[in-house]
């Protein structure tokens, strides 16, 4: 297991705070509160390193916030102690990290960014019935396998794809339905494959023909062949579901090869973020993504973004997910007054966690899945990300078809 590679003020601040807290507490009280060991399992090295680190960042900020506010009050101010694990992008490592941390006394887990890693890790945790709060990992099966210990505050693939098609349909119709066909490019692990299959099933229902379904491995650098195939098929839209590096590479190759499109529409596009918008404006402008984001009109959300950016980090949805996955657990521990496995699971099952700034309805867990969770449609406009759907959370109108680059 490797140590956190989180740069910037956050770790220093928490270390200093922890040190000061120990010095300040009178000797008598120093003995008392128990610690809650929380396992954080993410791919912080390997092909998914950027996103894995972002999730871990969010989680550690939440831990600092909870500890900084005095720990879990209902447990006598018990502080959370993170156990950091590097899954290196390999499911079997994620699973063995669960085994190791379980033996180290982990009361709960947060993880694993990627669906493939999450599937393996949650199943390993199920052996011990240790609660697992999924931070990212979209595949439905994470919560439909009948494992009682898994909880996901965030939307699953079915809801994301269904919602994304509602959004696409609305945006398309508003522009006079210029998009009548598409090609779907997806990465070939659980995330991309399931998303693509669901999309392929639903797109014809909104009048869009699927001309090609193109999988690729992570990592892949050269998208020339894929783009040539797309050029051959001449779709109106390119729909994308993949991770950070490949998203950017594909987007660039589409521009380089001068593929004429009505637009691109990614579903949980891994590279669609502010970093991309800033570093590659020529490519990013006008790209549409159906993804996770904060509620832009909520002042707490804006403040949080500012805080992350001031610490020198990029604000991405992975940070939000890591943050609230931990906060969800904190809320459960607070309500249960304990971090015991069964108590936590019961508290999660009945959770109505509302202390968040995500664009969601009320929290309600059914078989571990929060039905109130929703993703939103985003577009990069002038170097920033705007929410363009649904209306109640929108901060700008969609530009569709995409302007000529």
């Amino acid at each position: 297991m490797s140590n956190s590679a989180v740069p910037g003020q956050l770790t220093r601040r928490s270390a200093v705070a922890a040190g000061l807290a120990t010095l300040a507490a009178p000797a008598v009280l120093r003995a008392a509160p128990s610690t809650i060991r929380l396992g954080l399992i993410h791919p912080v090295s390997g092909a998914l390193a950027f996103s894995g680190n972002q999730c871990r960042l969010g989680a550690t900020i939440a831990i600092d916030d909870i500890n900084g506010a005095g720990g879990v009050a209902a447990m006598g101010g018990a502080k959370i102690e993170p156990l950091l694990g590097d899954a290196q992008g390999r499911p079997e490592i994620a699973a063995s990290l669960v085994d190791q941390m379980a033996e180290q006394g982990a009361s709960a887990f947060v993880g694993c960014f990627a669906s493939a890693l999450g599937l393996a890790a949650t199943q390993a945790a199920a052996k011990y019935n240790i609660p697992f709060s999924i931070d990212s990992g979209i595949v439905d099966s994470l919560t439909t396998r009948g494992l009682a210990n898994v909880y996901r505050l965030f939307p699953n693939a079915s809801s994301v794809t269904a919602d994304s098609l509602l959004a696409l349909d609305m945006i398309n119709k508003k522009a006079g339905s210029p998009a009548k066909s598409c090609a779907i490019v997806h990465e070939d692990s659980a995330f991309g494959t399931q998303t693509a299959q669901q999309l392929a099933g639903l797109l014809p229902k909104i009048g869009i023909e699927v001309k090609a379904l193109i999988p690729h491995a992570t990592p892949t650098r050269d998208f020339t062949n894929i783009v040539l195939r797309i050029k051959q098929e001449k779709p109106d839209l390119v729909m994308i579901s993949n991770y950070q590096n490949e998203y950017v590479a594909l987007a660039r190759t589409l521009v380089q090869q001068r593929v004429e499109l009505v637009g691109t529409w990614s579903v949980a596009g891994g590279g669609f973020n502010l970093k991309f918008a800033k570093e590659q404006p020529g490519v990013a402008e006008g790209m549409l993504d159906f993804n996770h984001w904060y509620a832009p009109k909520n002042p707490k959300a804006v403040a949080f973004r500012k805080r992350v950016e001031e610490a020198g980090q990029t604000m991405t949805w992975e940070v939000l997910f890591g943050y609230f996955a931990v906060k969800l657990l904190g809320d459960a521990w607070q309500r249960a007054g304990s971090a015991g496995k069964e108590e936590t699971i019961a508290a999660l099952a009945s959770s109505t966690f509302a202390d968040h700034f995500m664009p969601y309805g009320p929290t309600k867990f059914t078989n571990g899945q929060n039905s109130g969770a929703h993703a939103v449609a985003l577009q990069i406009q002038k170097g920033d990300m705007e929410v363009v759907w649904p209306e109640e959370f929108a901060s700008a109108a969609a530009v569709f078809p995409r302007a000529k680059l």
Binding site: P91, A116, L147, S189, A217
Partner: protein, 308 residues
């Protein structure tokens, strides 16, 4: 006597409750078993293979596909995997040896086969393509899934026993003698009337079948398989390392090799817990062994023992 002592030592982990330690023991024993399987072809047979993971992956996928797509009992995965592994070994052997491939060329061809299988597994629906295959959690003897790692350890021990028996057979039988003869000199063996291609093919088939069983054990323990796990080049390297470090072509070599390798690997992992440190030590060990102890550690202790 020695065998009895080793046997007793191997039974010790069954009495240890800490799952973590038992897991280490299980990994070491599995390593030894796979290394011994490699040894049958690579040590006793002199066919250095760099792609033995091909058999491992085939076994793992056969077991997983059998359960998921055909609803077979997981225990049936064992004989099926052995069959497929053996057939693959026979096919590879027949093709390669008839084309007179040996030495480096043979090593490379095995590598290419493993890579081709990886690409196939990554593309076909029946193997789950890039998603891989996950077995449903259903602990119990009937489902060949154990929550207590000690039972998985027992299974690994049994596999080790099988491979040791096979190696012992090679050391004493006429077939083994023929294999040893052609390992020393194919020309001479051929002149003596030994059908070189047939003998080598049989050895590779046996090796393949046993390696495939290792794949079944993996998938029943971790309940997940994907192309990069099933056909990982690192696993091929570990298999040959275990045999070489201990002593290729000897009975006890792979067991020694697995022990040394895992002590070194897990030891360094404790000191420096960064990914890559342990496998790097594997490479250093390989270089040291090739330079200083080409016949492996077994040649130190069993110097006077007749090597098979």
């Amino acid at each position: 006597m020695r065998a009895l002592m080793v046997g007793l030592a191997l039974l010790v982990p069954l009495a240890v409750p800490q799952q973590y330690l038992v897991t280490l023991a299980m990994l070491t024993v599995t390593s030894a078993a796979l290394g011994q399987a490699w040894n049958l072809a690579g040590g006793f047979g002199g066919m250095t293979s760099f792609g033995h993971v091909a058999f491992f992956g085939l076994g793992a996928y056969v077991a997983a596909i059998g359960q998921l797509h055909f609803g077979l009992s997981p225990w049936l995965g064992l004989p099926l995997a052995a069959l497929v592994g053996g057939a693959a070994g026979a096919a590879m052997g027949a093709a390669a040896f008839r084309a007179r491939l040996r030495g480096s060329y043979f090593a490379l061809v095995t590598l290419a086969v493993a890579e081709a299988l990886r690409v196939l597994a990554n593309s076909l629906d029946i193997t789950g393509a890039g998603v891989g295959l996950q077995l449903r959690l259903a602990p119990g003897l009937a489902q060949f899934q154990f929550v207590d790692r000690r039972l998985s350890y027992l299974a690994a021990l049994i596999l080790l026993g099988l491979t040791m028996a096979a190696a012992s057979h090679l050391g004493r039988s006429r077939f083994g003698a023929r294999l040893a003869a052609l390992r020393e000199s194919e020309a001479a063996a051929s002149a003596l009337g030994i059908d070189v291609v047939w003998v080598k093919t049989q050895a590779l088939a046996l090796s393949g079948a046993l390696t495939a069983l290792g794949g079944v054990l993996y998938v029943q323990t971790y309940l997940y398989i994907d192309p990069s796990i099933a056909f990982s080049p690192q696993r091929s390297v570990e298999m040959l390392l275990v045999a070489l470090i201990g002593g290729a072509g000897t009975l006890w070599g792979p067991l020694l090799g697995a022990l040394v390798l895992h002590v070194v690997a897990d030891g360094t992992q404790l000191l420096v817990s960064r990914p890559g440190v342990a496998p790097m030590m594997y490479g250093v060990l390989l270089l040291l062994i090739v330079a200083l102890l080409p016949k492996g550690i077994a040649s130190l202790r069993f110097g006077r023992r007749r090597n098979a």
